[in-house]
């Protein structure tokens, strides 16, 4: 399975995800779409962390009933897990704030519901 795909494809996917996410965060006015853009950015960075640990022909880094072969790096997988947990908590917090903004101003458009200026 790993012979057909060139080595760089996951890194190109990371670059595409991060680029699309920054475009969404900068240009979208709807607050929920902005939160989704942040979620895509988190996915891109997590994919980068896992991909950098891959070793060619490697097996999963689990000792229980492990087959022969070289193992991929386990430390980036632990870092990615922590990052996913933090992203879940942040996402819940951001969505609750959007709910409160909607309750007070009646719209999720960031231009119409802006109270503080200057």
């Amino acid at each position: 399975m790993t012979e057909g795909i060139p080595f760089n494809v996951p890194f190109l996917a990371v670059a595409a995800l991060i680029g699309i996410a920054f475009y969404i965060i900068v240009s979208q006015r709807n607050m929920i779409k902005l939160v989704l853009g942040l979620s895509i950015l988190a996915s891109g960075v997590n994919l980068f962390l896992i991909t950098l640990g891959y070793r060619k022909g490697g097996i999963a880094p689990i000792y229980t009933h492990a087959p022969e072969g070289i193992m991929v790096l386990p430390v980036p997988q632990a870092l990615t897990l922590t990052s996913i947990v933090i992203a879940v908590a942040t996402l819940a917090l951001m969505l609750s704030m959007v709910v409160h903004i909607y309750r007070h101003t009646g719209s999720t458009d960031s231009e119409k519901s802006r109270i503080m200026k200057g």
């Binding site: 000792y63 819940a92 309750r103 007070h104």
Partner: protein
């Protein structure tokens, strides 16, 4: 939701909860652990909320019970970390002792549940905290969207 959905949710929730407990308990041998098992449990709660409606679930599962569960999960985790303070904080003081104290051979092995020292207990504590926290988030957000009016 219709009768088919409610009946299937009643049957499936048992399997979901058992699977989540399995993932939490075997965290030191196979992929999984505290957060993953807690997230599976919360997805089971999401299944119940979708099938029965959040008002019905709110009659039996209240947020302040979940808050007590969450705090006790965190306290067990930090208490176990303080337990190793005789040597160093977070020291694994149960390795070699009768509780979860086997020392497995290095390298590929066939996986023994009774190893790991303090790690299975910490997995349980984290699993408790995550399932309480994520279920509370789901429940509160589902309740909030049923009573959504605009106030100035």
């Amino acid at each position: 939701m219709s009768k088919i959905v409610r009946t299937m949710a009643n049957i499936l929730i048992l399997f979901v909860l058992t699977f989540s407990l399995y993932i939490i308990m075997h965290g030191h041998l196979t992929p999984g652990g505290g957060f993953q098992g807690g997230a599976v449990f919360a997805s089971g709660i999401a299944l119940l909320i979708v099938a029965f409606g959040s008002d019905n679930i709110h009659k039996s599962l209240k947020e302040h019970h979940l808050s007590i569960l969450e705090s006790s999960g965190a306290l067990i985790f930090i208490g176990l970390a303080f337990g190793g303070l005789a040597t160093v904080f977070f020291y694994n003081f149960l390795v070699g002792s009768p509780i979860f104290g086997h020392i497995p051979p290095a390298g590929p092995n066939s996986g023994d549940l009774w190893t790991g020292g303090v790690i299975p207990f910490m997995n349980l504590a984290v699993g408790l905290k995550v399932l309480a926290g994520l279920s509370a988030i789901l429940l509160v957000m589902a309740l909030a969207t049923t009573t959504m009016e605009v106030e100035e």
